[in-house]
């Protein structure tokens, strides 16, 4: 691993107070989601007499249409939302890094075909196809992770490709090639470790997209299914009660906004620090 670049990421994180704030908040969310079982309420215990209560001292976020404690449910929803976002990002990063490095390293017709493929995927209305595929296959968390991952890797592939193009001309990569190391080893041992910060930044921004996608799909009823619930699927049932209990709509949506905002701020700050020229989208 390239120590110097890693330290750069760390330094940038602590220097910028917005990035640090976003980072700390995300850690807090993660811990709250992990320790959701500490809540005194059972997220699935119904109690009809307590239904649709507004936020109060006992139920911080009120109760839902079955009288379940909404704060606890939001915490458990965070687990699903964050897990789907994170796992989809992994899928997208794996595909994107593979395609990007292969495309950039080999060039020629391989590069041509792969980049054409990326172009096609970018010019189809992916949200509609995601909806469709979710309906075709059995909707659920695994399907959702694979589908979101498969439709969001293109941007990562492009960035990784352009980084690979510049790195493969460096001496150490030349030496590796000249000393007879296989292409696979050159890519995994010499190229990928050196573009790791770029991949991490792209991954951070990708989580933001993935969480938004998941919430939209689940909101339409084609994502996370019962008995699991994510923030998006909670909003799906909450919209029916928007008139009498609008807090049910307020909290999960606000948390989606906040989480995505944190990932976006974090990713952007790091990106600006590492690619000063490409930071505002003028670089293709």
């Amino acid at each position: 691993m390239n120590k110097r670049k890693w330290n750069g990421v760390k330094r940038e994180l602590f220097k910028n107070k917005y990035a640090l704030m976003a980072f700390v908040l995300l850690i807090v969310f993660l811990i709250a989601a992990l320790f959701a079982f500490l809540s005194p309420f059972d997220p699935n215990k119904m109690s009809i007499i307590d239904k649709l209560q507004s936020p109060n001292g006992k139920h911080l976020f009120g109760t839902d249409e079955y009288g379940r404690d909404y704060f606890t449910r939001v915490l458990y929803g965070a687990r699903v939302s964050l897990a789907v976002g994170f796992l989809s990002m992994i899928v997208a990063v794996v595909i994107g890094t593979t395609v990007g490095t292969v495309s950039g390293y080999f060039g020629g017709w391989i590069d041509n075909i792969l980049m054409r493929f990326v172009e096609v995927l970018m010019s189809i209305p992916s949200f509609f196809l995601m909806l469709l595929l979710n309906a075709y296959m059995k909707p659920g968390i695994t399907t959702l992770v694979l589908i979101i991952g498969f439709f969001t890797w293109m941007e990562i592939a492009r960035i990784v490709r352009s980084e690979t193009l510049s790195i493969k001309e460096r001496e150490y990569v030349m030496y590796a090639k000249a000393s007879g190391q296989s292409s696979f080893l050159t890519i995994t041992k010499h190229i990928i470790p050196n573009i790791a910060p770029t991949i991490i930044i792209a991954g951070t921004l990708n989580i933001a997209t993935a969480i938004l996608m998941e919430s939209s799909l689940s909101f339409l009823g084609l994502g996370v299914q019962q008995p699991n619930s994510s923030w998006g699927s909670m909003l799906n049932s909450a919209q029916g009660y928007i008139g009498e209990a609008w807090h049910l709509t307020l909290f999960p949506g606000f948390l989606i906004l906040f989480t995505v905002l944190c990932f976006n701020v974090l990713g952007d700050v790091l990106r600006v620090a590492f690619e000063p020229k490409g930071a505002n989208g003028e670089k293709k």
């Binding site: 189809i124 509609f128 919209q239 709509t249 949506g253």
Partner: protein, 316 residues
């Protein structure tokens, strides 16, 4: 000039071809035998076989694709399984609603984003700039459907100012009524684009202000306002055309969910309802139409850009 347009056009053709294959496969891979939707209980197996033949379903898959493509190119998109109406008619009657909504939101985004982007560039690093930047972050992070629900809660349920669903009030037929219905969905659709445009315009204005021609204008004693409106604005607006092209996927994707939240009777709502009822012919047509919209949008942006920027035109 003609050469540029022709070249871009030819580039779009293989893309459309691949998308048509994807759309075709979507129908082929769909669960269930398509013949089932035509079979009635009083048909015997021979009838079913004859029907299969007459629909071309006994042919190898590439022949089926060619037949299908022929039909599509002559405007025959088949019939909806649910409503039994020609799919093309259903699509055509929905297009104005979707294009209207997209156009309105695009206009709204530009009207807000251009001045905001330029002001924040001039007032770089002031409180105003920071606040605008914060809102831009919110714009790209907010789930559109939730923003829509919140707007419905505030403006329809609490204040009772604007209708929350549909495009027309039953019994009234006025433009004003349609506009009133469109305000909330157009706002939702515009919010994300405003953020993207604003940040883009801000950074390109900042770059322009550093250019020599601006310094020369100042040296000649031109006022800040004069430089900004007569010189910088023009150069800033050029790349905006490209960014509009790039944001078309956002608009098309956003239309699906925004139209669903507001029951806006456009292509997006039709697409989502057809998915829930597994109405394959409609699904396929929507896939094709939204892809074509996307590609055409990019094509127009490309062409417009080469029309307004002579440097690209000369390069060919």
């Amino acid at each position: 000039m003609k050469k540029v347009i022709l070249k871009r056009f030819l580039n779009a053709i293989p893309l459309l071809f691949i998308i048509s294959i994807i759309a075709f496969l979507l129908i082929k891979l769909a669960p269930g035998d398509p013949i089932q939707s035509f079979v009635t209980p009083d048909m015997n197996p021979d009838d079913v076989e004859r029907m299969r033949k007459s629909l071309g379903l006994d042919q190898p898959i590439y022949m089926q694709y060619i037949l299908w493509l022929q039909n599509i190119l002559t405007g025959n998109f088949g019939y909806s399984i649910i409503t039994k109406r020609p799919v093309l008619d259903m699509i055509i009657e929905r297009i104005p609603a979707t294009l209207g909504l997209m156009g309105a939101s695009l206009l709204l985004s530009l009207i807000i984003a251009i001045p905001l982007g330029m002001i924040t560039a001039v007032k770089k690093n002031t409180i105003f700039d920071r606040i605008a930047n914060f809102f831009a972050y919110i714009g790209i992070s907010i789930p559109g459907f939730w923003f829509g629900l919140m707007l419905i809660y505030v403006f329809s349920l609490q204040l009772g100012l604007l209708p929350s669903m549909g495009m027309r009030t039953v019994g009234t037929d006025s433009i004003w009524d349609v506009m009133k219905h469109g305000i909330l969905p157009a706002t939702v659709l515009a919010f994300q684009n405003i953020s993207v445009y604003m940040r883009y315009i801000r950074s390109s204005t900042i770059r322009q202000l550093d250019e020599d021609y601006v310094q020369i204008q100042y040296a000649y004693g031109a006022s800040k306002r004069h430089v900004l409106f007569n010189h910088v604005l023009r150069n800033v607006l050029l790349p905006v055309i490209t960014i509009i092209g790039l944001s078309i996927p956002n608009l098309v994707g956003g239309a699906f969910i925004t139209e669903t939240v507001f029951s806006w009777p456009g292509l997006g709502l039709l697409g989502v309802t057809s998915i829930f009822s597994f109405d394959y012919p409609v699904i396929m047509a929507i896939t094709l139409f939204s892809s074509v919209m996307l590609i055409l949008g990019n094509l127009i942006a490309d062409i417009l850009y080469s029309v307004v920027d002579p440097r690209i035109r000369l390069r060919g």
